[in-house]
């Protein structure tokens, strides 16, 4: 029974999906940071390079948070299932947030820790941004499989739901730091709002309705199904 060329291609693709896709994603995901740093070091970021670097890193962190939040709705609405890549995307969001903070502390505030402390206590957009970053730390620390196994799927999932608050805080941080009402931060805030509201709708409105339907249609076929949370966690765990 010789394997058809078609299935060889498919198995190669499958192997890439399992082994190579995530490293590739990390490399591609770090490109914007590398590119911006390259532009900065070659004096091509304009008059205020540190500021542009700071903003660009923050923006990419928010972008990865949005992408991460979009994965479940995408799958549920009939799109591809990218759950395998969600933790990598979350880690990229953390990576960019950490670089963003480093640039703020080092290049923007020039390591003036009393000024930084004043910023944190007096300026709400800094407080909110710091909140977002602080939330991402335990999520990044617990992101690997060993920690997932040690914590158990449900507890891990519960902890990682804090990303909702982190994303909301990050979007708010962006809206608050700009003057007036430029479109870009509002667009990101709207995306985060839609992705979070979808979850509220899914959990509190759609899930009871689905449950109701299942009960009325096939009462005999009911099986003990795990919650969607444990499903997600176990699938992600491989």
């Amino acid at each position: 029974m010789a394997a058809a060329p078609n299935s060889t291609v498919r198995s190669m693709f499958e192997r890439f999906r399992q082994r190579g896709a995530r490293p590739t994603l990390y490399i591609v995901g770090m490109m914007p940071a590398a590119w911006t740093l390259y532009l900065a070091l070659s004096d091509r970021l304009g008059a205020d390079p540190a500021k542009v670097l700071e903003r660009t890193l923050g923006l990419w962190s928010l972008r990865f948070l949005v992408i991460g939040l979009a994965i479940t709705p995408l799958r549920r609405l009939g799109g591809p299932n990218l759950i395998l890549y969600r933790r990598a995307i979350g880690l990229l969001a953390f990576f960019y947030a950490a670089l963003h903070v480093v640039v703020y502390v080092w290049l923007d505030q020039t390591l003036d820790f009393s000024a930084i402390w004043q910023d944190i206590i007096k300026r709400p957009y800094i407080t909110v941004g710091l909140l977002a970053f602080l939330i991402l730390i335990p999520l990044a620390v617990t992101s690997h499989n060993a920690m997932l196994r040690r914590m158990g799927g449900q507890a891990w999932q519960k902890l990682h739901r804090w990303v909702y608050l982190a994303a909301a805080a990050a979007a708010l941080h962006f809206v608050m730091l700009v003057k007036a009402w430029p479109a870009e931060p509002l667009i990101y805030a709207a995306m985060v709002a839609i992705l979070l509201l979808w979850r509220v709708w899914d959990r509190f409105i759609d899930a009871p309705r689905r449950e109701q339907q299942r009960r009325t249609r096939a009462p005999s076929q009911q099986r003990g199904q795990g919650t969607s949370a444990t499903k997600v966690a176990s699938r992600d765990g491989r």
Binding site: A40, L41, D43, G46, A47, D48, P49, A50, K51, L53, L107, D108, Q109, T110, D112, A115, Q118, D119, K122, R123, P124, Y125, M176, L177, V178, K179, A180, W181, P182, A183, E184, L186
Partner: protein
């Protein structure tokens, strides 16, 4: 082989020649890039002669390239790079300024009628943005007081109100669904502030006419106030009795006051005003912070305007 110091200066290409060569290259590039490049922001810049002024600072000037590419001019977009990209479409000629309100000689004045009667001076001023960065810009202009005296304010005139052009077809920030501010952009000064010798109407910078993104063809410069007070591309000046509305305090009254004097002791809710990053100071990414000075370093000249006022309340 000769060492560099042996080369007579006559063998070095004169500045006028290499400049014209560069213009030729730039011109060719612009033609190749199509007509949009020809109308680029600084394409209209023309040399402008000006007398030196004792009011100038001798601090190192900001690189022209930085000063014309890092601008807040929301009529052309909210990103700092937007004005340079988008302001090329602005037609600055012909240009009229309506002067009205409490003056003996109201009217619509052509650009030349406003600028020609005054001698142009170079004023090298510090510019402090409310966002806590600063520059040093060699403006070319004349005291606003010159113009105001010519139109003869009436005795009940207490404030001067300014208005920027509204022309959505040339100003992309004035089009579309989400617009950053209500238009026109408006600003104002108390009459004594407007008459102060440091307050100028600028028509040029760096020895040339203003590039569009810097507020061509005529803008205000008030060096002891945050940058947003220095309204760009002015089309109307009104003498009024009551304190006029100003764009940023309309947009967010708790964050922006009418006076907007540079004051390191009064923080903006989102930026500490205690220090500033001088654009171009330091190397590359490692910019320095320097302490911000009261009235942006012009306290000696202007502090007396505010004697007895609580500058925390009247921020």
């Amino acid at each position: 082989m000769r060492y560099p110091h042996d080369i007579p200066s006559s063998e070095i290409t004169p500045k006028s020649l290499y400049l014209s060569r560069r213009e030729l290259i730039a011109g060719t590039a612009a033609m190749l890039a199509g007509t949009t490049a020809l109308t680029g922001g600084s394409a209209h810049a023309a040399p402008l002669a000006a007398a030196k002024s004792p009011l100038s600072t001798d601090e190192p000037q900001t690189r022209r390239a930085d000063a014309v590419s890092y601008n807040n001019f929301y009529e052309f977009g909210t990103d700092k790079a937007d004005p340079e990209k988008n302001a090329g479409s602005l037609k600055t000629s012909p240009w009229n300024v309506k002067i009205d309100g409490l003056v003996e000689k109201p009217g619509t004045y052509a650009y030349d009628d406003i600028v020609k009667p005054s001698g142009l001076e170079e004023r090298i001023y510090r510019l402090r943005c409310v966002e806590a960065w600063s520059m040093v810009i060699p403006w070319i202009g004349f005291p606003l007081a010159d113009l105001l005296k010519r139109v003869e304010p009436k005795s009940n005139a207490k404030f001067v109100a300014f208005e920027t052009l509204v022309r959505p077809e040339e100003m992309p920030g004035q089009r579309g669904l989400l617009q950053a501010l209500p238009w026109p952009y408006v600003e104002g000064l108390r009459l004594d502030e407007a008459m102060h010798p440091l307050t100028i109407l600028a028509v040029g910078m760096y020895g040339e006419t203003l590039p569009n993104q810097c507020g061509a063809p005529i803008r205000l410069v008030v060096p002891w106030k945050y940058g947003y007070k220095s309204i760009k591309s002015i089309v109307r000046i009104s003498l009024v009795e009551k304190q006029p509305p100003t764009s940023w305090s309309l947009q967010n009254p708790s964050e922006y006051g009418f006076f907007s004097n540079v004051n390191p002791a009064v923080d903006h809710p989102r930026w500490s005003q205690a220090s500033e990053r001088r654009i171009g100071e330091g190397t590359g990414l490692f910019q320095k912070r320097r302490p911000t000075l009261m009235f942006n370093g012009y306290a000696e000249q202007v502090a007396s305007l505010y004697t007895g006022m609580d500058l925390r309340v009247n921020h």
